[in-house]
Amino acid sequence: MIGWLLALPALGVMGLAFLWPLAMLFRISLNRTTETGAMEVAVTGESYTRLLGDEFTWELIGNTLGLSGTSAAIAVAMALPVALMIRAASPRWRGLLALLAIAPLLVSGTARLVGWMAILGDQGMINVVLRWVGLTDAPIRMINNWTGVRVGLMESLMPYAVLVLLAGLGRLDSRLEEAAATLGANRFRTFIRVTLPLAAPALLAAWLLTLVLGISAFITPRLMGGGRVFVLATEIYNLALESVDWPAAAAMAMLLLGGLILLMLLRGGVGWLQGKRA
């Protein structure tokens, strides 16, 4: 009873700042857009059918899943050695190393993207060095395209991947790796046959979380894509603020939300499976 009372402020904020706007958004998504582009109050699924009937929407969904799926996978693959190293470190270093691995989260995402622009841009560090060495004549395009978005997204997802992996690997008994070694397995075979299978649930959990974060990412595709990269999040922005088609923007936001909730349920399922196995 007391617990509920104490939770009231947080629940109130959640209701006011999240659930209420969400309900509003859903309501708007049911309105009609007239020929002239004005919004007319109605209760209709027109925006949904229009979006789902549009090939461009499906292309956006494909783009979004492709971009976040690969970025999340690369982020998790790169986070795994980091997490393994932190886990193997002596306890006095472990905390510091873990803090270092998630330190990027302490810097604003926008600032980090500006940093990437300075590194990857046409006049950026990499291109300047390549030209100076004489390896290239023209700059290699690494921003304002999918490459730039993928690099930026991957980097921003990595700290989360490290965090989830550390939590998951913490349950992995290092004696198992020692046992494998005494039975004649070298480090590589120990990794393939023991560490990796046991880390699989953690890897899946990390991938699903970073996938969800990647799908809902807006700033990275917007800034690193330079207007040439189209994903669901940027399209919602365009529909709402450039086309001023609120019902369509709201409907697309609801579709995205539905997809994300589905993925989170999947992730919950994985966690439940993990709990059952342990």
Binding site: S90, R175, E178, A179, A181, T182, L183, G184, N186, R277
Partner: protein
């Protein structure tokens, strides 16, 4: 055990842990004959597990050498040492079945695929678990997991079997049975083995040789009887078995004079000076009133009973004597006229001069 060249030889092994002033293992040297079982016995923190881990290659010594046969394995990583290890927590692979766990080692040793299955099953049969081959570790009881771990370690036909507190995670009731099983199996296969324990009964019951360790050093390396009956140091005398402590001065002729005025005959050849003697409770005889001490029992003490603890088979009599508090443990059914004694009753206790284990006072 008759071969003269040792199967396992440790030479001056040293290992420090970061931040610790004293070394965890301090210049340990010992030889173990082929086919023998060595127990590393000591209190927690004495360096026994570190020594075992260094033999397995899971930790590197700072100096010293480890030889198996005539092979120097000091620099070899664990996967090239060919030693079977049974971990305290068993460390079975949770994602593999029992037979999968056992076959894993065979696969890593390069045993052909067709041969692995039958050999893994044979190893499980050896520990009486052939019916549990397809079970995952979490579907097995603690004792069964322990035996799978043993089968996994033995299946690779290791040069050396290493066991880290193999019985400590088992129920007290299971422990004795598993203890005898491990010993019988080790003897049947002729495997040379080292096991770590803090339980003296376990060490005495299983081992051919016991190394009593303290503060990173081997205090005594000897057969169980030797360890118990002729402890080399004060630490061994107090750590292995129970004993009453008698303080006093050693005088010429090996006579120990206590502050309470008792003069006890000992077999000690120590120089005169302050000493401490230990007397095991089961060595002490209770004399009937007027009974003369049996021949050979040179020491007789007048005592008063302080406490009587009856536990069925054994009755312990705690007595105040001129030599301090001495406990006598008697077989309740057969030994001595203890039934009439009540706290405060006068009594007489007798023991041999050789029963006193004398060491210089610390």
């Amino acid at each position: 055990m008759s071969q003269s060249s040792p199967h396992l030889r440790l030479e001056q092994l040293v290992r420090h842990y970061a931040g610790a002033a004293a070394p965890a293992v301090d210049r340990i040297s010992l030889d173990l004959p082929r086919g023998a079982l060595l127990a590393l016995l000591g209190p927690s923190g004495c360096g026994k597990t570190t020594t075992l881990r260094m033999i397995a290659g899971l930790e590197k010594p700072e100096s010293g050498r480890i030889l198996v046969g005539d092979r120097d394995v000091t620099a070899l990583p664990p996967h090239k040492r060919h030693m079977g290890v049974v971990f305290q927590s068993y460390a079975l692979f949770p994602h593999m079945t029992s037979v999968g766990n056992v076959a894993f080692g065979l696969e890593m040793q390069g045993v052909a695929r067709a041969e692995r299955g039958p050999r893994a099953l044979a190893a499980l049969e050896l520990v009486g678990l052939s019916g549990f081959a397809q079970r995952k570790p979490r579907q097995l009881s603690g004792g069964q997991q322990q035996r799978v771990a043993l089968a996994r370690a033995l299946a690779i036909e290791p040069d050396l079997l290493l066991l880290d507190e193999p019985l400590s995670a088992l129920d007290a009731k299971l422990r004795e049975g598993v203890r005898d099983e491990i010993r019988a199996l080790q003897q049947r296969l002729g495997t040379t083995a080292v096991f770590v324990t803090h339980d003296q009964t376990e060490a005495l019951a299983m081992a051919d040789l016991v190394a009593v360790m303290n503060a990173g050093k081997v205090e005594q390396l000897a057969a169980p009887e030797e360890i118990f009956e002729r402890p080399a140091t004060r630490f061994v005398a107090t750590f292995v078995g129970r004993a009453a402590r008698i303080q006093g001065r050693l005088e010429a002729g090996g006579v120990l004079r206590t502050e309470g005025g008792a003069a006890l005959r000992t077999h000690s050849s120590l120089a005169a000076g302050p000493v401490e003697a230990f007397l095991r409770p089961h060595r002490v005889r209770l004399l009937a009133p007027g009974e003369a001490a049996p021949t050979g029992m040179a020491n007789v003490l007048d005592a008063t009973l302080a406490r009587r603890v009856y536990t069925g088979e054994i009755v312990a009599l705690e007595a105040n004597t001129p030599a301090g508090v001495i406990t006598a443990e008697l077989h309740a059914g057969t030994d001595g006229p203890w039934r009439e004694l009540q706290p405060g009753s006068p009594m007489r206790l007798a023991f041999r001069d050789t029963d006193l284990l004398v060491f210089p006072a610390p």
